[in-house]
């Protein structure tokens, strides 16, 4: 357990700022990469290379009329967009960005992470339920069913990492990967985790929530103005955060590959800079990966999503967990 100093609050402030900015940047990156993949130009008018486009978007959203449909549950309709944003922002508290660079090191941070991630479901469900629109209701229900279903393989994939670490603190998980990243030791777990992370953040190929052809806008059909903007912001923050989690749990967090074997001793400042830049680079790659997948693969049908989650990923993740436990127990 480390002491909470003013340094923790500096990390907190910086990471919050970075997360919000990276969400905006991800929106821009998504539009540019989509355009690149589809042989278009994409947004290039606002600012140099169109880099100020996200700011223009936010200003536009703020200046729009906020419509709440008739007979909707007004209070819930207003609360619902807050939940995904708050839960997305709250996850940064436990993620280590470098050796000794984290906001707080609680001894059950993996459980904290899972708990906060499950709370995100409420925003989606309440949005769908309170809108008094059939499309919203169906979209919200489907989203909720999908998100809770994929939480199980996600949890089991994390548990298979915990077997190697023997601690529920994410700081320990990151530190344990100095030599061997867990993708090398636990590749099946890594694949399951990545698939489940895609499903948790409602991204293609799991964006049945927003299948325009059948559900219009899904749970945010009846949201306009900045209330819609909140869901939008939350989606991109979840992309960034899930990239961080994939990096942290399976791709060595802030370590270079096999760093313990060859990386020379460095001054703390240099080491800190290296750690943070390695972490940011890996996260950036996975954000790109999320976008790349979205514009490459078509979405599943809802029953296919549920079958994949319950009948394939869940048994696979449990068998993987037990196999790793057996190997660790009897061979090492």
């Amino acid at each position: 357990m480390t002491e909470i100093t003013s340094a923790s609050y500096i990390v907190l402030g910086v990471s919050l700022f970075m997360l919000l900015n990276s969400a905006a940047l991800t929106v821009y990156a998504e539009r540019r990469i989509a355009a690149f993949i589809q042989y278009r130009v994409g947004p290039n008018r606002v600012g140099p290379l169109g880099l100020l486009q996200p700011i223009a978007d936010v200003v536009k959203l703020i200046l729009k009329e906020d419509v709440t449909p008739r007979n909707s549950y007004r209070t819930l309709h207003t609360i619902a967009p807050l939940i995904p944003v708050v839960t997305a922002l709250m996850t940064v508290a436990v993620i280590p960005f470098g050796e000794g660079i984290f906001v707080t090191n609680i001894n059950a941070s993996v459980l904290y992470l899972l708990a906060i991630a499950s709370l995100g479901v409420y925003g989606v469900t309440l949005a769908g339920w309170s809108s008094n629109s059939k499309y919203s209701l169906l979209g919200g229900l489907r989203a909720a069913a999908q998100m809770i279903s994929y939480e199980l393989p996600l949890g089991m994939a994390i548990a298979s990492v915990i077997l190697f670490v023997g601690s529920l603190s994410i700081v320990d998980v990151a530190a344990a990967q100095e030599n061997w990243w867990f993708i090398f030791l636990n590749p099946i777990g890594a694949i399951i985790f990545i698939i489940a992370a895609f499903a948790e953040s409602n991204r293609t190929p799991f964006d049945i929530v927003e299948a325009e052809q059948e559900l219009v806008g899904g749970f945010h059909t009846e949201y306009s103005s900045m209330k819609f903007g909140m869901f939008f912001l939350a989606e991109y923050m979840h992309v960034v955060i899930n990239s961080m989690l994939i990096t942290t749990f399976f791709f060595g967090s802030y370590h270079l590959p096999f760093a313990g074997y060859w990386l020379p001793e460095m001054s703390p400042l240099l080491k800190g800079l290296l750690d943070v830049s390695v972490f940011v680079a890996k996260t950036g790659f996975f954000v790109f990966f999320f976008i790349w997948i979205r514009w490459t693969i078509p979405r599943f049908k809802f029953n296919q999503v549920m079958t994949l989650g319950w009948a394939k990923l869940l048994p696979m993740s449990i068998v993987n967990f037990m196999a790793i436990a057996a190997v660790l127990y009897f061979l090492f």
């Binding site: 922002l89 909720a144 549920m306 048994p315």
Partner: protein, 129 residues
């Protein structure tokens, strides 16, 4: 011990305030000119039929119930995963038994058709009961 949770509380306050400010901003800055048609829930441009607070497929309830059961089981596995090296070989076999029971339950519900989203097979099941 508990002191390490204080930043999380601070973060919650900051995040909540931030989200609230953004939403209030649009309330203040945006126009507000409601009319009857604008307030209609969207139904592909037609007049909306009835309310949306209707009954929906039982399959969603089944998924939710199964989730509660299996999520609890996952949570049981966590403490063992943390300390399984020190707990002795007996707990490993105990865990194998636990997982086998879990699998029997999972395949039972799958064979019973919890994940059948096809209306026809749902009706067929209801007839069988």
């Amino acid at each position: 011990m508990l002191a390490s949770y204080v930043p999380i509380l601070v973060l919650f306050g900051v995040a909540f305030a931030l989200a609230l400010v953004l939403m209030t901003l649009s309330r203040i800055a945006g126009p507000y000119r409601p009319n009857k048609i604008k307030l209609d829930p969207y139904e592909s441009g037609m007049d909306p039929v009835g309310q949306a607070k209707e009954r929906y497929s039982i399959a969603f309830y089944l998924v939710a119930m199964e989730f509660i059961v299996f999520d609890l089981e996952v949570i049981f596995i966590y403490p063992w995963a943390v300390g399984f090296r020190d707990l002795g070989v007996g707990t490993f076999y105990a865990m194998v038994v636990f997982v086998v029971i879990l699998f029997v339950g999972l395949f039972y519900t799958l064979r019973k058709g919890t994940l059948d989203w096809d209306m026809k097979s749902l009706k067929h099941q209801a007839m069988k009961l």
